[in-house]
Symmetry: C2
Subunit: 371 residues, 2 copies
């Protein structure tokens, strides 16, 4: 016997993790000045975070030796005001929305339970479900039909063992939303938890925001994040809005100190700086139109409609997405190769909104490499 024999079989099936590309890594690997790299690969907010956060962090430095408050009343209050949801229906995660996803899997999944995931979608759902022992039932966003959710592929998979259904809307990486009536049909057809991932909802039509369904249904959890329009991906703050009883179950096993003091301070300031938020949202939507229209002009690309801060693009110049993304990387442009998304042909990449200057440089480089 050795320590290897003590490790769980499922862990042995997982591949060693290959981290995505950061500016720092590209700069090191290709010898490019980090200032010249255009990072449009991770759906971040290119205008950064609120400039008021600097000052708030300085106030916090004298307290970094103290454990964080597990529940920060000021942060809870600001999230409550922003979402118009009661504090007791909110749970904040310290590894962005990923912690909330993991927590949901942890309270629900015993070995052999089932989880339904329509693909292509955010890959973290399947990773978290599998490691907790779930069997994944794949449903689909229909590639033939502009990636509309195939609702029957979800409904037909529901069994007594179904513990959760993940619906990402706007969906990552396709950018489209799932029609409200389809989500309603799914929620009302099961007692399983329906996770509505609204990470990108701010960029979508306001009427479409389903966060208040957390109060209407027992079995809905809406996922929100500070990683996108609030410009805080580096600080890892996400939250779930759901029924009080789900909050209560999740709080029993939550990693209780996982949200750092600096992250709490950053998130509070981000919510209070409404002017910066509006700027990022409005310019973000404008930037999205700019890239969308710019890419539309290339005959060898197909660009998909989007309500998020990124869009899906199909490469039709004979290269697969990995070859294409590698060409861009060498020119200092990071987009997301969608090769690793289950349920997608290997010809797609995802591009995030940039600043207007970044967009211009990006579109110029594209014109050099597409044909």
């Amino acid at each position: 016997m050795s320590i290897d024999d003590k490790v769980r079989a499922i862990v042995k099936e997982f591949k060693a993790y290959v981290p995505g590309k950061s500016k720092e890594e590209i700069a090191r690997n290709y010898g490019i000045d980090p200032e010249k790299i255009i990072k449009l690969g991770s759906n971040e907010n290119p205008w950064g975070c609120s400039p008021k956060i600097a000052e708030k962090l300085m106030d916090e430095v004298s307290k970094l030796h103290q454990y964080p408050q597990p529940i920060n009343p000021e942060l809870m209050d600001e999230i409550s005001k922003f979402t118009k949801m009661p504090v007791e229906n909110i749970i904040v995660g310290g590894d962005g929305a990923d912690e909330v996803i993991d927590n949901i899997m942890r309270i629900l999944i015993d070995e052999g339970d089932e989880v339904i995931i329509p693909i292509p979608t955010f890959t973290q759902y399947a990773i978290s479900a599998k490691i907790h022992g779930a069997n994944i039932k794949w449903a689909k966003f229909d590639e033939e039909n502009e990636f509309k959710l195939d609702i029957e592929s979800v409904l037909n998979n529901i069994t007594e063992k179904t513990k959760a259904i993940f619906l990402c809307t706007p969906n990552n990486p396709t950018g489209n939303v799932i029609p409200t009536e389809d989500i309603k049909k799914i929620v009302e057809s099961t007692d399983a938890l329906v996770m509505i991932d609204h990470a990108y909802i701010e960029y979508s039509n306001e009427d479409y925001d389903l966060t208040d369904w957390a109060l209407k249904y027992d079995n809905v959890l809406v996922l929100r994040t500070f990683s996108k329009v609030f410009g805080l991906a580096g600080q890892r703050v996400g939250y779930g809005v759901t029924s009080k009883k789900i909050v209560d179950y999740m709080m029993r096993i939550k990693p209780i100190f996982s949200l750092t003091r600096a992250s709490q301070a950053s998130a509070i300031t981000a919510l209070q700086d409404k002017e910066f938020f509006e700027k990022c949202l409005n310019e973000g939507i404008e930037s999205r139109e700019e890239i969308y229209n710019g890419l539309k002009k290339f005959k060898q690309l197909e660009v998909y409609p989007t309500e998020a801060n990124y869009m899906l693009v199909k490469v039709k110049n004979g290269m697969n997405s990995s070859e294409f993304c590698e060409v861009l990387l060498k020119k200092g442009v990071i987009v997301r190769d969608c090769y690793s998304f289950e349920g997608l042909e290997p010809y797609y990449f995802r591009v995030s909104i940039g600043t207007f200057d970044e967009n211009e440089r990006f579109l110029k480089i594209m014109s050099e490499v597409v044909e």
Copy 2:
């Protein structure tokens, strides 16, 4: 059926989490000026964190909108220099050492596996083990014998199902270390993973540091943290040092972005500011002597020897620890009521080192309340 029927049985057994006391909470609840509160409850470094961290955080603010590097080469390099361990034997956690503990349980535990935990000790081990489905086999630090580890109570519990053994040394909350030869005997008697928790090792005798056992044995993981002498409890950075193969298994399922940008920047600076580290360590040990000697004088208290930045104290004035700690709280002093530690009579509290000024005020308040 309802969503309650979908929740795992083990989660229903867990109690709703009651957070420990923060300065902010005590200030709110008792109407005390936060500046006057003496917090000696959480084994934090009362001198704070390196003053150089402020400047480093300002550099980082412009990058907070970007996802963190999953592995920060500068941080890995600094930890490697500090521990004299190779980079490939180190795994850093984004929720302090708690994430490393959770990761270890996650790679090892299938439902019904066994974990050995001598008590009283850090409560997080049992929480993390149970939620992953482990059966806990309790061993003991012997209350009758100044909390020396009862090594037979560990060895007798080892079976084929044993997946991990937790050895906290210096032990929290008792403050004493486990003799090296006892740890050796345990490590060599099993293939199960032996987790040596060295969260407080900097405050102990340098010769006692067993971090390099991670290279000598396949089945050892040494846990270290930035939450104590480095003064960064609020930033949640911990790490494990272990065999390459354990690092590889853990990396497969690690929450990959969990360490925030601000936390990475803080930890790097903390390691580089050797002068501040030395000051905190030397004054910390001096402070420990001061409190120890001060408390020794009270006949109604029993104080236990310690090699950490806290000490265990038994109350013998007729009050139980909760009553006693409540009296202190009202006077603005936070110590840790050890009531919730499995394996301890309800007469113990734990007190952390303070600044010399805090110690003086603490000992004065103690003289008012002990008799």
